[in-house]
Amino acid sequence: MAGQGNPPALAVSGLAKRFGGKIAVNGIQLVVPAGSFYGLVGPNGAGKTTTLSMATGLLRPDAGSVQVHGVDVWQHQLEAKRLMGILPDGVRLFDRLSGEQLVTYAGLLRGMDRETVAGRVRDLLQALDLTQDAGTLVVDYSAGMTKKIALASALIHAPRLLVLDEPFESVDPISAANIRDILHGYVRSGGTVIVSSHVMDLVQRMCDHVAVIAQGNVLAAGTVDEVRGGASLEDRFVELVGGRNQTEGLEWLRTF
């Protein structure tokens, strides 16, 4: 790391959370360099969402610390949250607002002035191809449109760090390509993106860094090339996480 002047976009150390008897996150260490496009991959129930929730100030950790651009998330919550744009997975939206109202709401909650918000809402809806449905209530949106409007709400205040939990789920291929373009442009101009995903191909193509998480631990982390070490990310992932069944069994499936 480049010393005091340039702290990492996200530094997580010793982060832990337990729900009842189950350890969800087991003392994770993670450093996301500023300006990187960082992928977080892991099987279902690996602790990705819990980690990201704790890193973004949505869920109080049992132990450990999180710093965003050198600001401690849990000591200086407001300051840290100003730096982050968050797309949480599996939470509802205020879906009785129209799409336009929802993004405006997110902007105003961030303390931005009305004119700036109005201009950016227009731009975001245009970029995400939602202009035709700007006045439709979010409750009547399709799953993909809902994801996109949530993404717009996360982008409105031009954060320095974007944390996106499963941003491409149920988004159509064209919109997904548009979103990737937006994210790449954002990273080129110095922003940092963290995405979690199950889709290895996508992460390998899109991200420059990756961390593999399973059962609440980081199994490998670094640049994509370091982690995959010549193999495809998917093969490397399977090798790290294990749990692949041999292809024998289910013979009856071939008997029809």
Binding site: L58, L59, R92, L93, R96, L97, Y105, L108
Partner: protein, 523 residues
């Protein structure tokens, strides 16, 4: 397969109880209540056996018809009263239609309403035990009638599934249900009065009903007891035919519903409609107020409260006016306003996990509390003032106006203070966004009711000084106490509002992530 479906229903019930022990208490209370009704019904039906055959027949036919109508009407309005076995969830399993129908129909008996109806209608066997043939017929006809109830309600539900799949219909039906529910008291009292007057007409009504699908199954034993086997046979045929026809209708509509997944209707709308966001300052507080106000009008859970709050004082006045006293009208303003203010005690629970946006954007406790309070104030204060002035005007005691205003404003301010703390402290088991405001998992509301009662008690304590002054003013006829109430209401109310706001904000600032964790666990 039928046994599988029944076991599934029991397993779902057991697992939901395991997750929330408090539900068990609620279910036990519901079951006790059901048992009480059941005991009364059976005792009544057996006692009826000592009346003459004509009277017994009339009562059984009328009560039975009422039960069937109840089974028809309730599920339509309360879309999703019990959708634990929502047929749409079985779409992909390719269950033979015949078995699916049988399983769903029988599962209707595994629940408090179904079981109580079945056992109570078997009580008619007791009514006819003096007439062995009639009692035997009742043993057959009672289950037939209850099965008709269940199948009819299922048929209606699945026929309306296509309608209910549209959000607008669901929203509207949830709201419409509030009105008959609110007016239940007056409806029952005028009905009983009407029945008392029309008691000579009842046997004729029962005779007519007994030839319709509503009353036919209930009147078969009555006709046998009266020694008319001919009509009894015909009515039995009517009853069986009705059941067959309903089962067929259910099958057809279910088959259609299974291939018609929920869809969103409604045209796409372009932007440029900021709504309430236009009328509030472009600050976090203003935005929250605008959002809450939008929800008050668009979300049935809030809009229902907006319908109830003006109705309750009207009902109270209605019964007061019958006794000839207009005095209770003085309190209609504070009652209406407090009902509205109290509804936001569950504000964060109503937000559900959408509350994550407030946590993620770093909204402060002051902004959050203030925004929500402003929205409800905009609604509650005008309503309270209008009702207060109207109440004083009808009562004709203008010198009481300051006192009544003091009570209303003091009540609103104190209430705002209390809910600011309450909603930052307590997450309740509220219906999720998009659910019917009446929807509840079996018995899960017992803890919520206790909390609400505690909150009401606290509210009462805070408003006590103004209330006492108003009562003293009325009792002594001294205008001084009326003005004192205004002064005390404004001073104390402001104090409580300020205090509650400060405490609520600081609780929120400390606990926002924990609140989110709690609503997530409840969701």
């Amino acid at each position: 397969m039928v046994a599988h479906l029944l076991r599934l229903k029991l397993a779902l019930l057991r697992n939901s109880l395991r997750r929330k022990p408090m539900q068990l208490v609620g279910l036990a209370i519901g079951a006790l209540y059901g048992l009480g009704i059941l005991g009364f019904a059976i005792a009544g039906l057996i006692a009826l056996g000592f009346a003459d055959v004509g009277t017994a027949g009339t009562v059984v036919v009328l009560a039975g018809s009422a039960v069937l109508i109840g089974w028809l009407v309730v599920p339509v309005l309360a879309a999703g009263v019990d959708m634990t076995l929502d047929p749409l969830r079985f779409t992909t399993f390719a269950i033979p239609m015949r078995q699916l129908l049988a399983g769903l129909a029988l599962s209707g008996f595994l629940g408090v309403p179904g079981a109580v109806t079945l056992l109570a209608s078997l009580g008619t066997v007791g009514t006819w035990w003096h007439h062995p043939a009639a009692a035997g017929a009742a043993l057959v006809c009672a289950p037939l009638a209850v099965l008709t109830c269940v199948v009819a309600s299922r048929a209606i539900t699945s026929a309306s599934t296509n309608l209910a799949a549209s959000r607008r219909f669901r929203d509207a039906s949830a709201l419409i249900l509030f009105i008959p529910l609110m007016l239940l008291g007056p409806i029952i009292s005028s009905l009983t009065a009407g029945i008392r007057n029309a008691s000579e007409a009842l046997p004729a009504l029962a005779r007519t009903l007994s030839w319709t699908p509503l009353g036919a199954p209930w009147s078969v034993p009555a006709d046998l007891a009266a020694g008319n086997p001919g009509p009894a046979g015909l009515k039995f045929l009517i009853a069986v035919g009705t059941l067959a026809l309903l089962a067929w209708a259910w099958k057809v509509s279910l088959a259609k519903a299974l291939v018609t997944p929920p869809h969103t209707s409604g045209a796409r709308r372009t932007g440029g409609r900021p709504g309430f966001f236009r009328f509030f300052p472009g600050t976090p507080t203003g935005a929250i107020a605008a959002r809450c106000l939008t929800y008050w009008l668009r979300d049935p859970r809030y809009a229902g409260g907006l319908i109830v709050a003006p109705l309750v004082p009207l009902l109270v006045s209605f019964s007061a006016l019958r006794t000839g006293s207009t005095l209770p009208l003085l309190f209609s303003g504070v009652l209406a306003a407090l009902l509205l203010v109290w509804s936001i005690s569950a504000d964060i629970s109503y937000d559900n996990t959408a509350f994550a946006l407030h946590v993620a954007t770093g909204v402060t406790g002051r902004q959050d509390r203030a925004g929500r309070a402003v929205a409800v104030t905009v609604l509650a204060v005008p309503l309270g003032l209008v009702y207060s002035v109207l109440g004083v005007a009808i009562n004709g005691s203008w010198w009481m106006l300051p006192g009544v205003l003091g009570l209303t404003l003091g009540g609103v301010l104190s209430g705002l203070g209390l809910v600011s703390v309450f909603s930052a402290r307590v997450i309740m088991n509220a219906p999720a966004p998009g659910d019917s405001p009446f929807k509840s998992k079996p018995g899960n509301n017992f803890g919520t009711v206790l909390l609400q009662l505690a909150g009401f008690a606290g509210l009462g304590a805070l408003v006590l000084p103004e209330l006492i002054l108003v009562v003293v003013a009325v009792a002594t006829g001294n205008a001084l106490f009326s003005w004192l109430s205004l002064a005390v209401g404004l001073v104390l109310g402001t104090l409580f509002a300020w205090l509650g706001f400060r405490v609520g904000a600081s609780v929120y600032d400390r606990r926002a992530p924990e609140l989110l964790e709690q609503v997530t666990a409840n969701a």
